[in-house]
Assembly symmetry: C2
Homo-oligomer: 332 residues x 2
DNA sequence: ATGAAAGCGCTAACAT
DNA sequence: ATGTTAGCGCTTTCAT
């Protein structure tokens, strides 16, 4: 086959823009970065030339020279099965980042500490957002070492060097218990094995909230560690006549719902499901007593995280902040 | 405040490695790129020095010089509510990309054609993976213009310039109808408004498969365009005594399940739910007749997409390919 | 208010 | 088998 035409048109450079605008190359750069005053006339000619050529500054050159890549690394956890919430975070973060002129580069949890070291040392990322950290996490030391600004989604025990944005899980725990009491339940069944997941910071904070309030009320808290499919049956079994069991899980809500339907053991006077989930569950009223509406919170948390990171990037010597977002009920 | 110590340690360069190994800087580069033979002794000294310094090549410099950024742009659709499948794709793509030495940069659908133009012109991405294209999509022209290799997840009508990896939706359509007939159903209710979504290529291919087989069988196909919450009630209403209705949806399966539970209108002899979903639904047997197990397919599709893109990147002048992945049943 | 020029850290052509 | 060197396209200091 003879070559009909060449493959890739090479992108215009600031040199090309300068030539077209009749200015020096550095002037183009100054117009772009705004790091020195430019006369209105010159700026206009440069901007026209930029538009005419469809010029975009070369990212490699810019990064090499300025040490700012315009890229934020996002450390995502392994998606275990069907976690829709995760994509809400990722999508909102990407959108908000673009709004501030940054791109998002994915770093999978699988890459571990070495992955962090890599994106930091190669200079691809100039800041990091960390999702779902363990309480002791191998990926934290390389982040601290790098000195890059970072924001954690999900509050670790102590983290004075980076900012934190998270849902107020302690408050959520208190809210769930209070709700169960209001609904005159005798027992709160926490499914999804929160006991064993206590190592996770969100879980431990949630449980702290639960225990705070449950202790002084007459509410028995049971942590279920078995299969999600059997949660409804177990709830039924542990509920004596004239009693009522509230059910709540930080995860696995859908599976439990399916299971309740499947076993034909639906919610009735003896059981109450308080669930934590997205907007799509609000319609399922007969099954639910109340849903803390978290989907908008997730977007809010994502946006706050990005804005906080941008603040750290722009303000030199800015100190980290902790931001907790309050959960809210949606009545079902 | 007096400065106690400087903030960020500057990363070692190939120059530092060269000095430590007692070779020239270019030799370090050749060891790294493997683009010329190096004696075993030299290679070893260089690699030792690299390890000792924790050296990683500067990404900006490498990109600027080689025009290869090592970054693949991933165009993700807007996550509408709780779409767990999406994150499965994104996660698997990121993992597989890393396995081949590439990073994934997110490009949200929201950015549109201009977003594509931007990542292409700035040179951040050297290849693209496109998810959920419309049949006529404004983002395609800039991709073609760029000349960059790309892979589409989800088959468009015609696309000779880029590769395609997708589920075989036509086969899925045929499978669903055949299954409904096997199960002695008189009617197939397609929920989630496939009629109006026919513009989407996967939907249109699915319907083509459905219609192919349904025509010659005695199966009535009804496309439901109403609220998902009322699908079970409508199915019940349209089913005469001694009849059976199969139900299937490409999306909204969970909502329909919830609705069936909520209205206490469960599956019985008159109705059969054939659903398209992840592994988490397999347990819900009484509700389901059969589940095409798609979660592993999604991982497979993601990995194939990345591998295909890598092939296009590595093999010069490689021609695009279409890869269709077969759906498979899982019995519930 | 603008221009000229240095150089960021690499890759790869051109040496030997 | 290795070294020397010329840039890639920007940002920014030093001129004017």
């Amino acid at each position: 086959m003879a070559s009909s035409r060449e493959r890739r048109a090479t992108a215009p450079t600031s040199q090309d823009v300068a030539r077209l605008a009749g200015v020096s190359q550095s002037t183009v750069s100054y117009v772009l970065t705004g790091s020195r005053p430019i006369s209105e006339a010159t700026r206009e000619r440069v901007e026209d030339a930029i538009a005419k050529l469809g010029y975009h500054p070369n990212s490699g050159a810019r990064t090499l020279r300025s040490r700012r890549s315009g890229v934020i690394g996002l450390m995502v956890p392994e998606a275990d099965g069907d976690d829709g919430a995760l994509m809400t975070f990722v999508g909102s973060i990407a959108r908000e980042a673009r709004r501030h002129g940054y791109d998002i580069l994915l770093v999978t949890a699988q890459e571990g500490a070495e992955g962090i070291r890599r994106v930091v040392r190669t200079g691809v990322c100039e800041a990091l957002i960390l999702m779902e950290l363990d309480r002791i996490d191998e990926r934290v030391p390389p982040v601290l070492e790098s000195g890059l600004p970072f924001v954690t989604l999900g509050k670790p025990e102590e983290f004075p060097q980076g900012s934190v944005v998270d849902l107020d899980f302690e408050m959520l725990g208190r809210m769930v218990v209070e709700r169960a009491i209001e609904e005159e339940c005798d027992r709160l069944l926490l499914f999804g094995d929160p006991g064993r997941k206590r190592a996770r910071n969100d879980v431990s904070r949630f449980l702290r909230g639960v225990e705070d309030v449950a202790q002084e009320a007459e509410l028995e808290v049971v942590m279920d560690g078995g299969a999600l499919a059997e949660v409804p049956a177990r709830a039924l079994r542990m509920t004596l006549p004239n009693q009522r069991t509230a059910m709540f899980g930080l995860s696995g809500v859908r599976q439990v719902l399916f299971a309740m339907a499947a076993t034909r053991a639906l919610v009735d006077d003896t059981r109450l499901l308080i669930t934590l989930s997205g907007a799509d569950l609000v319609d399922v009223s007969p099954l639910l007593a109340a849903v803390p509406q978290l989907d908008p919170r997730r977007v809010e948390i994502s946006e706050l995280a990005v804005r906080e990171l941008v603040r750290l990037l722009r303000t030199d010597g800015a100190s980290p902040r902790i931001t907790l977002v309050e959960p809210r009920w949606i009545e079902g």
